[in-house]
């Protein structure tokens, strides 16, 4: 009995995976069946073309006005892409229904057949669109081309239609009076699906981009086996003296700034302990409120504050002039200097974050058992003894976790701060790894910028994860409790 149930499930499982494969193909630019012209971006997938008309239409503004191509052809192409998108949506719905009971599964299979039909129709429309593109008077300016995607999707959809039909015929009929039902575990899973898709789309799909690190890639070019270069960029990174010098300099900055942060990581704890020593609750609250404000203004705003105070017309020059250190009007723009950048950046970070980071310790102090303090008082312990022997040990566990996390994050300084304070004068000492990758990959324009930036980002991610893993293990060993 059980075996039969299993074997009747197998085709459905295959169908589900098949649907996933088709839906994913809709996101692959190479398979885009809507790319009926070389003018349409190589990076646009069927999905992109279906959700926005501009992915197709924007490339033909000139061709349209010159009469090289008709509006009808563009509309046809868009309708084709839209129909293709619709079929993917239908298949998605079919995928969900195939998790239900027999009655629901039958509906799902019907829907997948319908989706396949819609898809075939969409591909046919796209083929027609290609035909009208091919009729253009200026093939050199419209670049009509028959995308591989049309044939590929035709095949995929055709196979799906046949497969669905076969399953439909082989599947037992639902018993009389059955309702549409689905087991809770699948219902919950399906509710989760859209959000899971978001996570995959924005956090896991980019991993696919790591392949750029192994190709000779420039923006706008193709990735083919011809420009596959293996570990060339890794070797380049270490053998080219200029890049090596860059990397050493950037790593020095990164470690210096992270190191300053780690070396002063006890500050928030001290801040919290001292704050709780203030007797008036009201002033405690006021201090806490006012010192956390900087945490909530963005780095750009911090920079504008810095600008107001340290630029040529700023407060600092006035103050220096008024105590006679410099002559009035002789002040310079202090943000344009390269001296002590590490310390300055650390100071801004502390200014912004100290009050905020202390909150977690303040919460920690309030959760320490009051009886400990009372007992210590009875035993004649003084104020400082209580701080040192009760409060500090009580906070150590929190401190330890945060310390491990900051060590694991040693390569990650964040970018906003360094980006806004960056200028040609302080370039040498402010460029941390994150900023370097940005400058190299997104504003650099050399032959190696994208692969190299990808490679460095990739290595950074791998090292960070390893560090985190080690920190987690260390925490488990020492405290008997893991962090993540």
């Amino acid at each position: 009995m059980r075996k039969r149930a299993l074997s009747s499930k197998a085709p459905l499982v295959i169908l589900r995976f098949y649907i996933i494969a088709v839906c994913m193909s809709a996101f692959i630019p190479f398979l885009n069946p809507a790319r009926v012209s070389g003018m349409i971006s190589k990076n646009a997938s069927l999905f992109t073309c279906a959700v926005s008309y501009s992915a197709i239409g924007d490339n033909f503004v000139r061709a349209l006005s010159m009469g090289w191509i008709s509006q009808g052809a563009l509309t046809t192409a868009y309708i084709g892409a839209l129909t293709g998108g619709l079929s993917v949506a239908l298949l998605g719905a079919a995928f969900c229904l195939c998790f239900g009971n027999i009655k629901m599964c039958r509906l799902g299979v019907k829907l997948s057949a319908l989706g396949a039909l819609t898809g075939i129709a969409g591909m046919t429309v796209l083929r027609l669109a290609y035909n009208s593109f091919a009729l253009t008077s200026r093939p050199d300016r419209v670049e009509p081309m028959l995308p591989v995607g049309i044939a590929a999707f035709w095949g995929l959809f055709g196979l799906m239609l046949i497969f669905s039909g076969a399953i439909w015929a082989a599947m037992p009929k639902a018993p009389e009076g059955a309702k549409y039902e689905m087991a809770p575990k699948y219902r919950l899973f399906l509710m989760m699906m859209p959000f899971l898709a978001l996570v995959v789309l924005f956090a896991y799909l980019p991993l696919w981009g790591w392949r750029y690190a192994f190709f000779d890639y420039r923006a706008g070019f193709d990735l083919t086996m011809d420009n596959f270069v293996g570990l060339k960029w890794l070797r380049y990174l270490f053998s080219n003296p200029a890049t090596r010098a860059d990397i050493v300099r950037v790593l020095k900055n990164t470690f210096a700034m992270s190191g300053l942060g780690i070396a002063t990581s006890w500050l928030p704890m001290t801040f919290a302990i001292l704050l709780t020593e203030i007797r008036s609750n009201k002033s405690k609250r006021v201090i806490q409120t006012l010192t956390t404000i900087p945490n909530f203004i963005s780095w750009v705003l911090v920079y504008s504050v810095a600008f107001a105070i340290f630029s040529t017309e700023g407060f600092l020059n006035w103050a220096l002039a008024s105590i006679g250190v410099i002559e009035s009007g002789a002040g310079t723009n202090h943000l344009m200097s390269n001296t002590d950048i590490w310390l300055k950046m650390w100071a801004w970070g502390t200014w912004k974050g100290l009050g905020w980071s202390a909150i977690i310790y303040i919460a920690g102090i309030s959760s320490i058992d009051q009886q400990l303090y009372e007992a210590a008082t009875v035993d004649g312990a003084g104020r400082f003894q209580k701080m040192w022997h009760i409060t500090v040990p009580g906070l150590m566990s929190t401190y330890f976790v945060l310390l491990l996390l900051s060590i694991a994050n040693i390569l990650t300084n964040g970018m906003d701060q360094y980006f806004v304070f960056f200028n040609p004068a302080n370039r040498e000492s402010i460029q941390v790894l994150d900023l370097f990758v940005y400058h190299l990959g997104l504003s650099g324009n050399t032959s190696y910028s994208i692969p190299l930036a990808t490679l460095i980002g990739m290595m950074k991610s791998l090292i960070s994860v390893t560090l985190l893993f080690m920190a987690n293990k260390a925490s488990a060993l020492i405290r008997g409790e893991s962090i993540v």
């Binding site: 780095w299 600008f307 107001a308 723009n333 920690g364 997104l442």
Partner: protein, 298 residues
Amino acid sequence: MFKRSAADYVFDAVNILFFTLFTLLCVFPIYYLFINTISDNSLVQAGQVNLYPRGIQFDNYLALLNVGDLGNAAMVTVGRTLLGTVTMALTCALVGYLVTQNAMFGRKVIYRGIVVIMYFNAGLVPWYLNMSMLGLTNNFWGYIIPAIVQPFNVILVKTYVESIPGELQESAFIDGAGYLTVFGRIILPLCKPILATIAVFGAVMHWNSFMDSVILMGGDPNLYTLQHRLYLYLNKATNLGKLMNSGGSISEADVTSALNSRVVSLTVAMVTIIPILLVYPFMQRYFQKGIMLGAVKG
């Protein structure tokens, strides 16, 4: 009451002095910014406004209305803050609730998969190329959609939902309610405090967000956020100022433009800070609740 020793008094005095100074250090720069924007501009340029406002006027704020691209930037920022916060908070609430349901197929894997992305990312370039492939560069939705699922907020909601007695849900299930009904009628109303917390976190994040505008929207100035505009003004002011200092040949118009840029930058900065300062005192307890709950799960 216990007796205070001399050392106690000294300690208290030093302590209070330290906190007073640090608090001033936190507040004074913002105050300085503020008095510079409401004082007479000629006095500001002469460096005469340093400790208190002189010749109070609000023309700078009115003048902002005439700076064309600012209105647009403000609309983009307000739009993304409202839309982004609402979608993020509701989604994270639902996701946070769903991951507490043990019955879910693959629950553990899914939850870990969501949490891991806090610590792990592919890197800037692959991320950018991915966004561009999805058509979210130079597109307003590029601000909203990627920010919908926030792992940290999911953890906050999950921890909170787990503290709600399970009997409440069970009895509703027995009465025939579905998961979404239970979520909408029972969990969501009970989650109001944590919902407020993540909404406040989200709103501040969206309001302050800046790099995504720089990286993703480079091709469409109409989509720049307020923070991005502010950065551009600041840069303009710095560069013109540098030119003047180096004695390069610059016209009268450049000088005016530099000073104007300075005043405009500071005023824009003030306009951007004010909303945060206004809501902050009311929201403070939510922030603190958030960070404490977050501390539970590292």
